[in-house]
């Protein structure tokens, strides 16, 4: 009772005090809610529907294609920092030159690619392998497979597709050099490998 009486007596100071306290309470709850959304986004964003193919053209070249969807159901837009696609074949029979690259692409932050909140973006790539040297190496692999009884073609060679992307959530600050954990909180890293998928 004495407390209530005292509160009535100091109503102006109490009101200021309550406003001060409420401001920080609301700020705290809002920030915790943002934190929940950020952590949820780390878990929600994913890659799906990866598809790839290799088509042999009439002139002997090979067209390699790859596409993948990035699904962003979160409440934040994703600002893509880097998007990397790489396609290659590995030839395990020879010591040197075991790695035969057949396609690659890189998109950096200056391209300002965004995946809006609640949206899905498809990343599609294609590469035409017409370089005689690379084609010779691919054909060598085809011929070797025939000797082994596998009878692969330029279209059915085991091409590996790797896709790797880094994105930032919304407009949160993310250029901390010393406190990297602050960057980690708002950074999304996704990767896909056709080798791991099969």
């Amino acid at each position: 009772m004495a407390l209530l009486k005292s509160a009535k007596e100091h109503w102006f100071s109490i009101t200021l005090y309550a406003l001060f306290s409420a401001f920080f309470l609301v700020a705290g709850v809002l920030s915790a809610s943002t934190y929940v959304s950020v952590v949820r986004t780390l878990d929600e964003v994913f890659l799906e529907n990866a598809s790839f193919s290799a088509d042999e053209l009439e002139n002997g070249s090979v067209e390699i294609t790859f596409s993948i969807d990035l699904v962003n159901p979160s409440r934040y837009d994703l600002k893509m920092q880097s998007i990397v696609w790489e396609a290659f074949v590995t030839n395990g029979t020879s010591g040197t030159g075991w790695y035969i690259p057949v396609g690659s692409a890189y998109t950096g932050p200056t391209s300002y690619v965004e995946v809006p909140s609640g949206d899905t973006k498809t990343f599609s790539y294609s590469s035409l392998v017409s370089d005689p040297e690379t084609l010779a190496r691919l054909n060598g692999l085809v011929n070797y497979s025939a000797l082994e009884g596998e009878h692969l073609t330029l279209e059915t060679l085991p091409y590996t597709h790797e896709f790797y992307t880094v994105a930032w959530m919304g407009d949160f600050k993310h250029d901390y050099l010393r406190e990297m954990y602050l960057n980690d909180i708002v950074r999304i890293q996704l990767e896909y490998s056709s080798e791991a998928a099969t």
Binding site: Y17, F20, G28, S31, T34, Y35, V39, D43
Partner: protein
């Protein structure tokens, strides 16, 4: 130190009212990039808010021991509330998202510095609050008993 029922109620009320700023500052210190509004780890701003948070414990408590007890109580409650804020996503979602040792590394690592600022600022605020209270009382007394004109 004797603590009556009314005193305990007052200390508790002050502790609950002053805890949110402490909780927010502790949380903001860990995640300045996602909090709104952020103090960006500015120690002086945090000290200033700590002083503000400490003023009521001096203003509403005439006893110095109770005022100091209030400061310690609201700092403790505020810090616990900050840990609750920090734990929210991991209680709602996947607990495995938390990195091993994350709690220790990020939250409890800076405890000493933060608590020092909160308590020091709180005591400074308490002194200021008591000064304001005494000054207002003196003024009120002066107005109630104006000097007699000869």
């Amino acid at each position: 130190m004797r603590l009556g029922r009314e005193d305990a109620k007052k200390v508790m009320a002050i502790s609950l009212m002053s805890a949110p700023p402490i909780a927010f500052m502790a949380f903001d210190f860990m995640f300045p990039n996602i909090t709104t509004p952020s103090m960006n780890k500015e120690m002086l701003v945090m000290l200033a808010v700590s002083i503000l948070a400490g003023i009521p414990s001096g203003y509403f408590n005439s006893r110095v021991d109770l005022a100091m007890l209030s400061v310690i109580a609201y700092t403790a409650i505020g810090y616990i509330l900050a840990v609750v804020y920090y734990s929210t996503p991991f209680t709602l979602y996947d607990i495995e998202l938390i990195l091993p040792g994350f709690y220790y590394a990020l939250f409890f690592r800076f405890t000493i510095i933060l608590l020092f600022i909160f308590v020091l600022g709180g005591f400074m605020g308490t002194v200021f609050g008591q000064l304001v209270r005494d000054s207002m009382k003196r003024e009120a007394t002066k107005l109630s008993f104006p000097p007699r004109e000869e």
